[in-house]
């Protein structure tokens, strides 16, 4: 006990610190970078080369920065949807599965109607994807509302089921007959692809959709009564209950929004840079988006910034794999340590550190 007593302890602030809120994300990023560079040094890599590949290279050419923006799209979409749920204390961590279902639903059109043409195809695919994601999330919502089951576990299990369902389709009914037995669908026709934004890059319209929906999310959370009800439900569930805000409605809404956004992201991925349904459609976007949501302080504007940061980490990780021989798993290590660093940093929004010497009067508590 004396060990704990001699340590500095957290004292609750009178009011939340705005300065700490703003400093926490960059501070966490800096700490995570330093810790991971030390890890790379231990692994025998040149830390400066890794730093250059990871942090600088993505910005050095338009080609690589356009790839950053391309990766930003799905992360931004998913994280905006998840953050709304997290603020209502509905922990949907199954965005990965909702993303996969969105990709599958969207692929149904080009797989079943490969000859179809027309400008309507890609918008309908995106809409179908969003519906697919929302439907997959509605299973979790039903389990939580009707059966009282923990949404964290159910949504995660559904992600694992979704991955198996994807493999089933790609190895069975949806396999490209001319694809040399690779687990992938046919290549989509031209009209099933989201229009590119800038010639010569893969950047497409989905980043604009993601930005537009970010503004919608901001209006919804900050200006609408429904968004207000969700926030109260998360901050003070009892007060929300007395005010007649139904918890079940908050759960349904949170999960449907999260599933809709993740499904849309999945659709935009197959109809965008990939151009077909593949086994590796998601490189952990659904989980990375959880970190993006927290790093953006669950705020729509903050999430725009944090999604770019996470996209840089992805592209930078790819660069470092090539130029500094860094295993790609290092990206996951970085993501995990970044979230941990942020969770520590964000403690200082509500608490300040007090050293035992300064509080000798009450420092004798057992």
């Amino acid at each position: 006990m004396s060990l704990f007593a001699s340590l500095p302890h957290l004292v609750r602030r009178q009011r939340a610190s705005l300065a700490a809120t703003l400093i926490a994300p960059p501070a966490a990023l800096a700490v995570a970078i330093v810790l991971n560079l030390i890890l790379y040094m231990i692994m025998g890599r040149d830390p400066l080369a890794v730093l250059h590949a990871m942090v600088l290279e993505p910005f050095l050419s338009w080609a690589s920065f356009s790839e950053v923006l391309l990766k930003t799209g799905p992360l931004l979409l998913i994280a905006q949807g998840l953050a709304i749920g997290f603020r209502a204390k509905v922990f949907n961590i199954g965005a990965e599965g909702q993303f996969i279902l969105g990709a599958i639903f969207a692929s149904a059109i080009p797989v079943w109607f490969p000859q179809a043409t027309g400008g309507w195809i890609w918008p309908v695919m995106l809409l179908l994807g969003a519906i697919g994601g929302a439907l997959w999330a509605s299973i979790t919502a039903f389990w939580r509302v009707r059966l009282n089951a923990n949404e964290i576990l159910v949504s995660l299990m559904l992600s694992l089921v979704a991955a198996q369902f994807l493999y089933y389709l790609l190895l069975g009914p949806w396999k490209d007959p001319a694809g040399f037995n690779f687990p992938q669908s046919v290549m989509f026709q031209y009209d099933a692809m989201v229009p590119t934004l800038i010639a010569g890059t893969r950047l497409n319209v989905s980043i604009l959709i993601a930005l537009a929906l970010s503004i919608v999310a901001w209006v919804f959370m900050e200006k609408s009564f429904m968004g207000y009800k969700l926030q109260v439900g998360g901050l003070a569930p009892r007060a929300a209950g007395y005010a007649g805000f139904k918890e079940s409605r908050a759960i349904w809404l949170s999960l449907l929004i999260g599933g809709f956004a993740a499904g849309l992201a999945g659709a935009a991925e197959v109809a965008g840079p990939l151009g077909q349904l593949q086994r590796s459609i998601s490189t952990g976007y659904g989980y990375a988006a959880i970190i993006v949501a927290y790093l953006g302080a669950l705020h729509p504007i903050g999430i725009i910034i944090s999604s770019v940061v996470m996209a840089v980490i992805y592209i930078g990780g790819d660069n470092a794999m090539v130029s500094a021989n860094l295993p790609i798993a290092a990206v996951r290590v970085f993501q995990g340590s970044l979230l941990l660093a942020y969770l520590i940093a964000v403690a200082f929004v509500r608490y300040r550190l007090e050293w035992p010497a300064q509080t000798s009067a009450k420092g004798s508590t057992p």
């Binding site: 609750r12 389990w143 059966l147 576990l153 299990m157 089933y168 290590v333």
Partner: protein, 304 residues
Amino acid sequence: MNAIEFILAGMLAAATPFLLAALGEMVTERAGVLNLGVEGLMALGAVIAFIVVYHGGGHFFAFIAAGISATLLSLVFAFVALGFRANQVATGLAIGILGQGLSALFGKTYESLTVKGLPKIAIPGLSDIPVVGGLFERDIVVWLSLLATLAIWATFAFTKTGLVIRAVGENPKAAHAIGYPVIAVRVAAIAFGGMMAGFAGAYASVIYTPLWADGMIAGRGWIAIALVVFGTWLTGRIFLGACLFGAVSLMSLAAQATGLDLPSQLLSSLPYIVTIIVLGIISADRRLLKLNGVASLGEPFERR
């Protein structure tokens, strides 16, 4: 050997990773802490154990090393979640991502390599019984896990230690007022959970399927967390649940052996689907969860 004999014979071994991880998580949760990082802790234990065995360190030291490394990672969880009163859900997810990332990083050069498992120890007499005999012919770790199950049950049923852990989980303020060190008990419970998850991962990678492949834990850590709910935080029920999931995960192999024509992906997702269904059934009984649940689960403890 028919399908039933096959499942009975393999059930305990398949159940052991679930059992060890779930019992560890049960102790952590009984102290009022929700650690969702089990999947990552298991993955780290699995890769460390594999590396030790692969380089000739033997199974004993493999388990020790796996236990220590997973304990250290779980102490990072304790540092963030208790030291800084961080959101336990987010902290657990971060530990899960970090643990899986570290396991992939360490295991990169060992991908698809194999090691030798452990010999089976038959219980004389019992293992000769037809049909169920296979149950009694298992490696030493299975028998030790059963002993650990008994010990944990007895700890909560008869000892003061068990009572203190429960008090800290039910009402930390009252426990603190009587003079129990709430934070220290919680740190110890987290460390115990981490160690057990490390053992569980080690069993998976060096005994049950003695090979290394990235992602080989395949959701077993999450199922272990669900098992704690299924077992309503009770040792005996968690043991039964682990056996059920051991049997379910063998069913895909058994189904293929009997020539049942089902897509293998459906069989692979069977454990996850069963988890979702059972979770729904058990949780629907709100009274049961309220009666056995841990009152302050997931809530940070503030002295003032």
